[in-house]
């Protein structure tokens, strides 16, 4: 199920809210757990089994780690952590990377792994597809056992409570990636105040508008240029296309995070922020502190620091960075271009750590902003053009080696998308927020419900027409 759909917004969520709030406090996690499973099973019912498996394995491993630690058996505890990590990585590896690995091996003549098209089940087969959100929830559950071992999180003895954490629907399929230790207390006890609910409404509406009114509006422009044959790509056209994609992905992804945070608040949860105006970044390193914050922090905490981070020799640090960025890249999808995209970021971030960072510190601020945004946008071309045969020509066109500077189609698309592009660029900066805070409180009080209703009304109109509403994270 996805948030930006009429059946979610007008049926599923109102029903869940009603059941949730008429239930006594101690039953609310159970209500949520059931709601989560329906939410997850909506797209591929059989994959709910993965949820049960995930809950059972991570729950029991958490218990084993705790018991071993209590008994002074550190080796046993470490084994349990390792076993949990291996299980989660196997789950992710099988569903997400198996066919990629098998296909890549076959491409170099090593076809001993058969490509899997369908999974046999009692009573028939189902197509072998990537379970939605698997990259998000396997990372969340992995962090649980590790944190229990590290003593950063308490062991959860109630399997319903733990299941609620694993399957929590607002952030199940597109993040933010929430660590158990950040949610621990809230799972046991959370405040349900009307103030929190109203702020959740606000946040959700903003997120829905970002996704439906901005991201979905810009997507078709990118689709045009993605589908343009390489030989016809012009320089300005290629830039227009990739800028549209850069904005589409940002508003789509951060819109989802906003909706998740908003829905969470309506259910009494407080999730951490996931985006912080990434296109304002003045460097590659800063971009990753502002973009998909929960993913960057996960890799830092559970991969980069355990490898030694930067408190090691220079050569080892570069190796650590290489590992982290290769992993970050391939996390985004089982395809070589995502690995290349990760390595692209590795190069910039390593350069910045070695000497470029100091140069940037001395450079004029406007130049560092241009640098930051360009690094991100060029990176998106590697990210978004999955086909290597098309990626090279696309990048070449961006840098002037295409079919000329511009074509007549470009003039049409620019004329048609300029208003929405201008709105999107402005919305990618804190401009709107700053203007809002300058308004007198009285004006805010009147403008807020008006804007909110307008946002909901236009979102509904675009959803009901529903011609273009993609889910971009099916590969994650």
């Amino acid at each position: 199920m996805i948030f930006s759909s009429p059946y979610f917004l007008f049926l599923y969520f109102p029903i869940v809210l009603t059941l949730y709030y008429i239930s006594p406090l101690r039953w609310r996690n159970l209500v949520l757990l059931i709601a989560n499973l329906i939410f997850y099973g909506w797209g591929e019912p059989v994959y709910v089994l993965i949820m049960f498996l995930s809950i059972a394995i991570d729950y029991s491993h958490g218990r084993i780690v705790t018991r071993c630690k209590a008994g002074g058996n550190d080796r046993g505890a470490r084994m349990a952590v390792a076993s949990s990590v291996v299980f989660n990585l196997l789950l992710l590896g099988f569903f997400k990377y198996y066919n990629f690995i098998a296909g890549s091996l076959a491409a170099v003549g090593l076809s001993f792994l058969p490509v899997i098209d369908s999974l046999p089940l009692p009573g028939g087969t189902i197509p072998f597809t990537l379970p939605i959100g698997i990259s998000f929830y396997t990372f969340q559950t992995m962090s649980y056992t590790i944190d229990v071992y590290r003593g950063d999180a308490r062991c959860q003895k109630n399997i319903v409570t733990f299941g609620t954490f694993v399957t929590l629907f607002p952030q199940l399929i597109a993040g933010p990636i929430i660590k158990y230790k950040d949610l621990d207390d809230q799972l046991e006890h959370r405040d349900h105040t009307v103030e929190k609910f109203a702020s959740g409404v606000q946040r959700f509406t903003i997120g829905a508008c970002k996704k439906v009114l901005l991201a979905n509006a810009l997507g078709p422009l990118w689709d045009v240029y993605l589908a343009t044959p390489s030989a016809q790509l012009t320089t300005l056209g290629a830039w227009l296309g990739i800028i549209a994609f850069s904005l589409q992905l940002y508003f789509d992804f951060s819109g989802y995070s906003d909706m998740a945070i908003g829905l969470g608040r309506m259910l009494g949860f407080e999730f951490l922020e996931n985006f912080n105006y990434p296109y304002l970044s003045k460097s590659a390193s800063e971009f990753w502190r502002r973009w998909h914050i929960s993913l960057g922090s996960w890799f830092r905490e559970y991969l980069y620091f355990p490898l030694g981070g930067s408190r090691v020799s220079r050569g080892r640090m570069v190796l650590n960075l290489l590992i982290v960025w290769a992993a970050t890249g391939i996390w985004h999808g089982a395809s070589w271009n995502f690995l290349l995209w990760g390595l692209y970021w590795f190069v910039w971030i390593t350069l910045e750590k070695l000497w470029l960072g100091q140069a940037l510190d001395r450079a004029p601020v406007w130049l560092t902003h241009v640098y930051g945004v360009l690094v991100a946008i060029v990176g998106w071309a590697i990210f978004a053009v999955e086909d290597f045969a098309a990626m090279g020509p696309y990048l070449a066109a961006m840098f002037g080696f295409g079919a000329g500077a511009l074509d007549t189609d470009f003039l049409y698309y620019l004329r048609n998308y300029l208003p929405i592009l201008a709105i999107a660029v402005a919305a990618a900066t804190p401009l709107g927020k700053n203007l809002w805070h300058r308004l007198p409180e009285r004006a805010q009080k009147i403008a807020f419900p008006v804007l909110m209703l307008a946002g909901l009304v236009f979102t509904t109109a675009y959803l009901v027409d529903g011609t273009y509403n993609p889910f971009l994270y099916f590969r994650f």
Partner: protein, 382 residues
């Protein structure tokens, strides 16, 4: 936010979401959308099978969007909003000048065109009678001046130029481009040509097929002294349906040749299911429904034969799409029998049909858009 204000915001949100949710459940389902000209998805109760396969979920999602309260109004609001944002298109329809709507035209690939033209050539080789081939240029070619500036995905005439070049020896190509270009020959809200457009095409076809007999008037306002009569002023076509452009005025439908033809003896046999049923050139009852273009010959059918004992030429077989519906009255002025054959619904062997019915000439007539997308043209070559 104060507590009271928070309650107000919360109530507003809940009113909106719960309100439309409850309205969706309580309001009766519509079968058909006049505005969109299609059947709407209905609620189907889940079964264990459809739940397991996920089919229920898919159909439920369609049900919610299709039956959403005030669906037509939401779609119109989106179209208005797109226009306000400076967009010149919505749902793959261009907003052209004078309230003219253009469905986007996908230029077919060379291979596609070669394949389809190959079928026509094969038909020419298979038959002993003259075979003519003609394509109706897309509205975006004919009314190019009304398109938004620089609009991509339009017909620049190259499709017809290529098709013409691909014609083999056994087939005579009749080019309609000059007869139509720049003339006001299409409905503003529909992809079809108007009766006037059909008349202009008919003049070009007559010349291309070397027919003798009385020529029509060229001023475009009358046909052999008969003037055009308006039969409807409220036609919203299919392009309008997909555009959501509620601000566009409806089209008028005109006819010029009366029911029964100019000499009063024209009859029509419809073959909806293989058996002849008497019909007519026009179906006034169709003017009361949404799809008013079916006024001409009553809409899609596998075969329709128009007979005019007073005509000078013999029997013409037209292998065609819906554009021929309003051309048929003109054709029947010149031919004693016009057999309108739709490959989409008719699997009869063409070779056999031509022999069995004593056909004298064959015309393959498609719109450029349908010709490049229709998946039934291979039947031409069988």
């Amino acid at each position: 936010m104060s507590k009271q204000y928070s309650i107000f915001i919360t109530a507003l949100f809940c009113l909106f979401t719960f309100g439309f949710g409850i309205a969706l459940i309580l309001s009766p389902s519509r079968d058909f959308s006049d505005q969109e000209n299609r059947f709407l998805a209905q609620f189907k109760a889940p079964t264990l099978d459809t739940l397991r396969s996920g089919k229920f979920m898919e159909s439920f999602e369609d049900y919610v969007t299709d039956q959403f309260p005030l669906r037509d109004q939401w779609i119109q609001l989106k179209a208005y909003s797109e226009r306000a944002l400076g967009k010149q298109e919505n749902n793959k329809v261009y907003f052209g000048g004078n309230g003219t709507l253009f469905a986007q035209f996908q230029v077919p690939s060379e291979e596609e065109l070669e394949q389809k033209a190959g079928y026509v050539n094969k038909l020419g080789a298979n038959l002993d009678v003259p075979v003519y081939f003609s394509l109706v240029p897309d509205k975006s070619f004919v009314l190019a001046d009304l398109l938004p500036a620089n609009a991509p995905n339009v017909d620049d005439g190259s499709t017809i130029e290529k098709a013409r070049g691909l014609c083999g020896d056994g087939v005579t190509f009749v080019d309609l481009r000059n007869a139509l270009a720049g003339r006001n020959d299409f409905y503003r809200t529909d992809h079809h040509w108007t009766t006037l457009g059909a008349q202009h095409a008919w003049e070009a076809l007559r010349a291309g097929m070397g027919l003798t007999g009385q020529a029509g008037d060229t001023d475009g306002l009358s046909y052999q002294g008969l003037s055009y009569t308006q039969v409807s002023d409220s036609f919203y076509g299919t392009t309008y349906s997909s555009s959501g452009a509620a601000w566009v005025e409806p089209d008028s439908i005109y006819t010029v040749i009366p029911e029964g033809g100019t000499r009063g003896r024209t009859t029509v046999d419809r073959y909806p299911e293989g058996v002849a049923i008497p019909g007519g050139l026009y179906y006034p009852e169709k003017l009361e429904v949404k799809d008013k273009y079916a006024y001409f010959l009553g809409g899609n059918q596998p075969l329709c034969v128009v007979k005019n004992p007073d005509a000078e030429n013999g029997r013409l077989l037209v292998i065609r799409d819906s554009y021929a519906d309003c051309l048929a009255p003109f054709l029947s002025e010149a031919f004693q029998e016009v057999h309108l054959f739709d490959l989409r619904y008719n699997n009869t062997s063409l070779k056999k049909y031509v022999a069995d019915n004593g056909i004298d000439q064959v015309l393959v007539l498609y719109s450029a858009a349908n010709f490049s997308t229709d998946q039934n043209l291979f039947k031409l070559g069988l």
